[in-house]
């Protein structure tokens, strides 16, 4: 058998990668251990949230599937951070864990050029440091021009509960036993990571009457730029809140040594942002209680996800812990919490295109690269699918910059700084947050999706019409004025009157004046969509700060425009600090900008390197 691109793994990275590759007209084979687990959500039942929600919007802008699929399958939708500025608004869905994978599988099965195969991959076929296919557990060989590994947590996975360690992936699936050892043999560095997931509780055993309820928004929204809302506001399923208490903490402290973590049974490095409940209790001793969220998993079965309570305690202790919680006194645990340890590669051995530096035509995406989260995985999967395709076509890779997309921040962080814990996207990782907003992902990225071929003419035309509307409305606001005689208008807007004519855009700069009020008062044409109004309002109200960030981004652009030759010998450059020299040699940054972000490379190294490159160019 021979195809263009093989994708190994059917999680969120694998789905996006294989869809992108197939949509770009490459014969694609998706190999998964179990077809039932395609697009599975083994951990939390939600998609989006701060930073992550913006990743989903970016995936959608580029022509990926996650946004559309979430729109088809969620139980609740909520815009977070609406009390803060627009730069940090983020959409989050409670996804239905049955519907989401079902819808995704349907999309994959209907996709031209894409075949799905159930098998376990054991090894890569490599010749002269170039991958040309994979070898299956049964010895079968499949050839391809490029291979994308999206193996999630399955590489040499171990499930940890208390002092027990059992080889296996989530849902009692078989782990991939041999692939990571074989990757090591090929020269890749393998690291061990850890993550965990909390208990699932039987819905009918929870006393909701004593819990705080959290509803979805009462405004219809979508993740995708191209879908219409497919749900009713009143049909949304609520989440609930409960808290740990003194008794819970006592149980944990009394049994600390029984947990995998504190008993010393864990080798992998877990994420700081996903601490287990025992971690939280130990590290934040003076906190009287910790917040827990009860999230519905699906309309089709009875599990409730207990967010915030992940632990590696043995089952009997978990029982006691759960029963100490308000509203869960008689709760029935359907699935116990567990920690999982798995192998990942060192992302520093990856290029910004996600192609491996050691083995050509090999791409990796998702948890194998050291990240965590469905959205982070999907974003990389999409980029790996795009770049493997571009590679086959002999075209330059698509590398998004830090001021263009959270995806750019994510990948740049991975290939520049590496990661020692599962990497989660956070808004605080982005230095140009105000440029990377939820609302403008299409304006930032749709052009790339179109150029590559993932966005068709119809979708692109719709986007261009929106741009045109934005331009028109901006002009309209600049050209049309309000005058002192319209005294009543200012009263209605609750703003101070004026002495002279004032353009509408000047008026809109006033903090208390909102564009929707102007529309309601008939000061602007009614034809513009809410999306257009929002875009124009943000660009006018935040013009000063947007300009500030753009100015900063320009500095970055200068550094990014200075390319570093791939074969540069850092040993012969005088005056580099030894740590900087070593790091530069290891990471081999492709631009001076990337070099400047490597930890251990200090500003004077960059100065030295910059002078050296200038001299090099003169010669």
């Amino acid at each position: 058998m021979e195809v263009d691109i093989i994708v190994v793994g059917g999680g969120h990275a694998g789905c996006e990668a294989s869809l992108a590759a197939a949509r770009l007209k490459h014969k694609t084979l998706l190999i998964t251990g179990n077809i039932k687990n395609i697009a599975d959500m083994p951990c939390n039942p939600s998609v989006g949230g701060p930073a992550k929600g913006i990743l989903v919007r970016e995936i959608d802008a580029l022509g990926g599937e996650m946004g559309i699929n979430t729109d088809k399958s969620h139980l609740q939708l909520k815009m977070l951070n609406t009390k803060k500025g627009p730069a940090v608004w983020a959409l989050r869905a409670q996804a239905d864990k049955i519907t989401y994978p079902k819808e995704m599988l349907k999309t994959l099965q209907n996709q031209e050029n894409l075949t799905i195969k159930e098998a376990i991959v054991d090894d890569l076929l490599v010749k002269n440091k170039k991958v040309y296919g994979v070898k299956l557990e049964n010895g079968e060989e499949i050839k391809a021009k490029a291979v994308i590994l999206t193996t999630g947590t399955y590489l040499k996975a171990d499930i940890l509960v208390g002092s027990s360690r059992t080889p296996g992936g989530p849902h009692g699936e078989k782990e991939a036993k041999n692939l990571s050892d074989n990757l090591k043999k090929l020269g890749l560095t393998i690291q061990r990571l850890k993550t965990g997931t909390p208990q699932r509780i039987k819905k009918s055993s929870i006393d909701y009457s004593v819990l705080e309820r959290e509803d979805g928004d009462n405004v219809l929204r979508t993740f995708s730029y191209d879908t219409k809302p497919m749900y009713k506001i009143e049909d949304q399923v609520p989440c609930y809140l409960t808290y740990t208490n003194e008794e819970t903490h006592k149980i944990i402290m009394d049994n600390l040594k029984k947990s995998s973590m504190y008993g010393g049974y864990v080798r992998g490095i877990g994420p700081r942002y996903c601490p287990s409940i025992e971690d939280k209790v130990v590290r934040f001793k003076d906190k009287e209680r910790h917040q827990l969220f009860l999230e519905p998993e699906s309309l089709y079965y009875d599990d409730i996800y207990l967010q915030g309570f992940s632990t590696s305690m043995p089952h009997d202790i978990q029982e006691k812990m759960v029963h100490s919680l308000k509203g869960l006194e008689h709760a029935e645990i359907v699935k116990y919490a567990y920690a999982i340890e798995y192998d990942a590669i060192d992302p520093l051995e990856m290029q910004p295109s996600l192609e491996n530096k050691i083995i050509e035509n090999l791409f990796t995406a998702g948890q194998i690269n050291g990240t965590s989260g469905y959205e982070e995985a999907a974003a990389q999967g999409l980029m790996a699918g795009i770049n493997a395709s571009l590679k086959i076509q002999g075209k330059e890779a698509l590398v998004l910059k830090r001021n263009e997309a959270y995806i750019g921040v994510l990948i740049d962080d991975l290939v520049t700084k590496g990661t020692k814990e599962p990497y989660r996207m956070l808004t605080s990782r982005a230095e140009y947050r105000l440029l990377l907003r939820h609302d403008n992902a299409d304006i930032r990225l749709r052009k790339y999706g179109y150029e590559i071929g993932l966005i068709d003419d119809v979708r692109y035309q719709k986007f261009k019409d929106k741009l045109q509307d934005i331009e028109d409305l901006k002009n309209y606001l600049n050209e049309n004025k309000v005058y002192p005689v319209e005294g009543e208008l200012f009263e209605k807007l609750n703003t101070s009157p004026i002495l002279d004519g004032l353009s509408l855009s000047e008026l809109l700069k006033r903090p208390e004046v909102k564009i929707n009020m102007l529309k309601e008062l008939g000061k602007i044409p009614q034809k513009y969509s809410d999306e257009v109004l929002e875009q124009v309002e943000i660009s006018i109200k935040y013009a000063g700060y947007i300009a500030k960030e753009e100015k900063e981004a320009l500095k970055l652009k200068e550094l990014e425009s200075i390319k570093i030759p791939e074969d540069l010998d850092y040993e012969i450059i005088p005056n580099l600090a030894s740590e900087g020299r070593q790091k530069l040699n290891q990471i081999k940054p492709i631009t001076l900008g990337q070099a400047s972000r490597i930890s251990g490379v200090n500003p004077s190294d960059i100065a030295v390197l910059s002078v050296y490159l200038k001299r090099l160019n003169h010669e």
Partner: protein, 451 residues
């Protein structure tokens, strides 16, 4: 790798012992070639050895040689220091021999530059070292040393910590909006913080300007009508102190007539010759030239005459100096008082007599008080004297003003945080620290969040 450099590290012509410092990968090898005593290539690091410098059979000097191996040295390279005992001419000779044996002459500040490039000292310390090398008076030296030991770095670091505290809290509020038990920063909090940050920055600037006074002295301009006794006052000031007459042009085009020391601080008296030259024409007081000098002066001495009523020109001058640091000096106190100064609201009035030479001391006392010079004798100098650094601090203050305006306009906290980060980064560049994982470390060590 790096070539080997050498130069004399002590000041020339002073003291019996001079030290030659050699740094670079061949430092030990080169010195060993000309050293008669132990084999320096075999000695332990950080040891001192007695011996002689011998070149072509001739003993040049009796020396003590310190051998310090990388990386625990000033430059983080191999360093050898030769203590020469034979006076300046033999020290020079030793240096010459080193050059002949494979060393290169170090450029000014090159040892420090290497220390910086090799990552031993931060930018601020590097700049302080260069200030130290160029320092003239004892007080300048103290400031320079404090900078070197990182006192001003400490100050900046403290301020950055304050900033990162509030930044990380705002970030946590953004990334974990639903954690109700995490404190939510309010605009009032920011307002309060920003007030404190502002006053810290203003303080640094203010204190740094004091530091500038120590470094550059107090630029003093004497003005007054012709014949009121300006030259006499100048001469009295200079005479009485055995003036240090300098030919240093200073930082401006002013000609420094002379300098005196008050409490160890230089008072640089600027010649306002322009006034004298045009003094033929009473109607033109030649204000234009003196204005220039006045505008950049730290102190203006306005000289008036005790036994004349205030003229139109006097009143004009008084108006000109209204917002300057001014002492009104009234000369000829032995003559009948005709001047009426009851309308002046300047508290700094001193009566003197340039002919009988009295009142000069009280004038100096007054200056001492005005510039609070006594504090310089006792306090620790935490000031930033480097222009680049000071301009960065001023940049930060500007951003603080943006934040104040933003708070006024009711902008969102996460937008204003952009400015906070900007200040934090700018302060980072002063001490040569840039964004790394600092923020995230702070975030996760202080807040309990996550699933």
């Amino acid at each position: 790798m790096s070539d080997t450099i050498a130069s004399i590290a002590t000041s020339l012509g002073i003291g019996a012992i001079s030290i030659i410092r050699v740094s670079g990968s061949d430092a030990i090898k080169i010195v060993n070639k000309i050293f008669k005593g132990k084999d320096l290539e075999k000695v332990e690091s950080h040891t001192i050895h007695y011996g002689h410098i011998v070149y072509e059979g001739e003993t040049i000097d009796e020396v003590l040689v310190s051998v310090m191996k990388a990386p625990k040295t000033y430059t983080m390279e191999d360093v050898v220091e030769i203590n020469c005992h034979g006076g300046i001419s033999s020290t020079n000779k030793v240096l010459e021999i080193l050059f002949l044996s494979g060393c290169r002459s170090a450029e000014a500040g090159e040892f420090t530059k290497r220390a910086f490039l090799n990552g031993r000292i931060d930018l601020m310390q590097a700049e302080a070292v260069s200030d130290l090398i160029n320092s003239e008076t004892e007080k300048e030296r103290k400031i320079a040393i404090n900078g070197l030991e990182g006192n001003s770095s400490k100050l900046i670091k403290k301020l950055r910590q304050k900033l990162i505290d509030i930044i990380s809290n705002i970030e946590v509020n953004i990334d974990y909006p639903e954690y109700e038990d995490i404190y939510e920063v309010t605009k009032n909090d920011l307002e309060k913080e920003i007030k404190e940050i502002k006053s810290s920055l203003e303080n640094i600037i203010k204190e740094s300007e004091d530091g500038k006074i120590i470094k550059d002295g107090i630029k003093t301009v004497i003005i007054g009508r012709p014949n009121v006794g300006k030259s006499s006052l100048l001469n009295r000031l200079l005479d009485s102190n055995k003036a240090i007459v300098t030919d240093i042009p200073g930082t401006t085009r002013d000609i420094v007539e002379g300098s005196i020391l008050i409490s160890g601080i230089k008072l640089n008296i600027i010649d306002t010759a322009g006034i004298r030259k045009t003094s033929d024409k009473v109607e033109q007081i030649g204000v234009s030239k003196s204005i220039e000098a006045m505008n950049t002066a730290d102190l203006v001495l306005l000289l008036l005459n005790n036994n004349e009523t205030l003229t139109k020109e006097d009143l004009e001058l008084l108006k000109k100096v209204e917002d300057k640091n001014t002492i009104i000096v009234i000369n000829k106190n032995d003559l009948e008082k005709k001047i009426d100064i009851s309308n002046l609201d300047n508290p700094n009035i001193i009566y003197i007599n340039t002919i009988k030479d009295n009142g000069i001391d009280s004038l100096k006392e007054k200056i001492k008080m005005m510039f609070n010079l006594e504090k310089f004798e006792t306090s620790n100098y935490n000031y930033i004297t480097n222009t680049r650094q000071l301009s960065k601090i001023k940049e930060c203050l500007k951003v603080v003003h943006d934040i104040e305006k933003g708070l006024n306009d009711n902008l969102d906290l996460d937008i204003l945080e952009i400015d906070l980060k900007n200040i934090w980064n700018t302060l980072g560049t002063i001490i040569g620290e840039s964004y790394e994982e600092e923020l995230l470390d702070e975030l996760f060590s202080k807040f309990c969040v996550g699933k």
